[in-house]
């Protein structure tokens, strides 16, 4: 694939210093992350509040959200948390919910070829659904090359929002009460739907999404726990494999 065709295709971008400074790239990332940060706030508050209800101290909450930084698995874990916690159950659920990261990392890998491992491995620590989708979309527009500065700008903004506001939720939860009551939890699917709309390439290309939606929803209704995440995602990917020419 590193043949002559590719060389001529990308000659221009390879030879000219198109890469802007990492600072301006990081700032561009921060700007694009802003609406998602707003969407994170209510979710983070709810998570922090629920964790505090389960007996988490105000230090344990940022410890969890800062080291793990994967909201879906944190909601699932908090739901299952007991004192003392059932370690194997919680770790297994975490693996189940986050197994989608394998697919996400695989999709991102071709755009990270230009990065040395010492940069790629720390960068991947910050890969969440949103930073990944935004970074991937941006990288694909720029000739299949992830802009590390941009991605880090997006990631750090989202990371800090998540860690800070889950802590705030733990501290201020009892005062705020249940923010779901006001509809703030709907921000989460809204952010995802906008990202999906950005990836839209017509009905035919979206057939695997429909498979994921239907299988994911059915699994959610029929099978307790978080199985719907890997089952739904893999069903759609399998359908894409089947339909691929």
């Amino acid at each position: 694939m590193h043949g002559f065709a590719l060389m001529t295709d990308t000659n221009f971008t390879l030879d000219t210093p198109v890469e802007r400074s990492s600072f301006s790239e990081a700032f561009r990332g921060l700007r694009d992350a802003l609406p998602v940060m707003l969407g994170f706030v209510p979710l983070a508050l709810v998570l922090g509040y629920q964790a505090a209800q389960k007996g988490f101290s105000p230090i344990e909450v940022p410890l969890l959200t800062g080291l793990n930084f994967a909201g879906g698995s944190e909601f699932a874990a908090i739901e299952l948390w007991t004192s003392p916690p059932h370690i194997s159950l919680i770790v297994a659920i975490t693996l189940l919910v986050n197994s989608r990261h394998f697919l996400m990392g695989a999709a991102l890998a071709p755009l990270m070829r230009h990065l040395p491992k010492r940069k790629a491995f720390p960068a991947l620590f910050f890969m969440c659904d949103e930073s990944w989708a935004i970074g991937l979309a941006d990288g694909r527009k720029a000739g299949s090359r992830l802009s590390l500065g941009y991605y880090i700008g997006v990631s750090i903004s989202l990371y800090l929002t998540w860690v800070v506001f889950t802590s705030v939720g733990a501290l201020a939860g009892p005062i705020l009460g249940d923010v779901r009551r006001f509809g703030f939890d709907m921000a989460f699917p809204a952010v995802f739907l906008v990202m999906l709309a950005g990836m839209w390439k017509g009905v035919s290309a979206a057939r695997p999404w429909l498979v994921s939606l239907v299988v994911g929803a059915a699994t959610y209704l029929l099978v307790p726990g978080a199985w719907y995440v890997p089952v739904g995602a893999l069903s759609g990917v399998a359908a894409a494999f089947f339909w691929a020419k």
Binding site: L34, L38, P42, S57, I59, E60, L63, L67, N68, F69, A70, S73, A77, P84, P85, I87, I90, V91, N98, R100, H101, F102, L103, G105, A106, A107, A109, P110, L124, F182, G183, M186, A187, P189, A190, F192, L193, V194, L196, A197, W200, A206, P208, V211, S212, L213, G216, A217, Y220, L221, Y228, V229, G232, A233, G236, V237, A240, F241, A244, K245
Partner: protein
């Protein structure tokens, strides 16, 4: 302030999560992908995202379903911030009206 068992569980969760994050990259970093594999990986993002929110489509609460429908309509026409506002306001208002 930090319970040792909680700390251990958090560390194990974080380790597992990090392994899922680097797994796909480590496996595919130096591979040349077939066109079919590329098509599959191009589809993976959408499949992952729609699966994560699939439960929202089958909540069984009329207010949430209508709000989600409005949010889908908004997402196809508007940028992210107005869509999020439509989602929050419609869910808040409809829940208070429909219970």
């Amino acid at each position: 302030m930090i319970d040792p068992m909680n700390f251990l569980t958090i560390l194990l969760m974080a380790s597992v999560t990090y392994l899922t994050r680097i797994g796909g990259y480590v496996l595919l970093r130096n591979r040349t992908l077939s066109p079919r594999a590329k098509t599959v990986l191009e589809n993976a993002p959408g499949c992952v995202l729609i699966t994560v929110i699939a439960p929202n489509f089958v909540t069984g609460h009329p207010a949430d379903i209508v709000a989600l429908g409005l949010t889908v309509a908004a997402a196809t026409r508007l940028s992210i911030l107005p869509t999020v506002l439509v989602a929050i306001v419609s869910a808040g208002v409809l829940r208070s009206l429909l219970g």
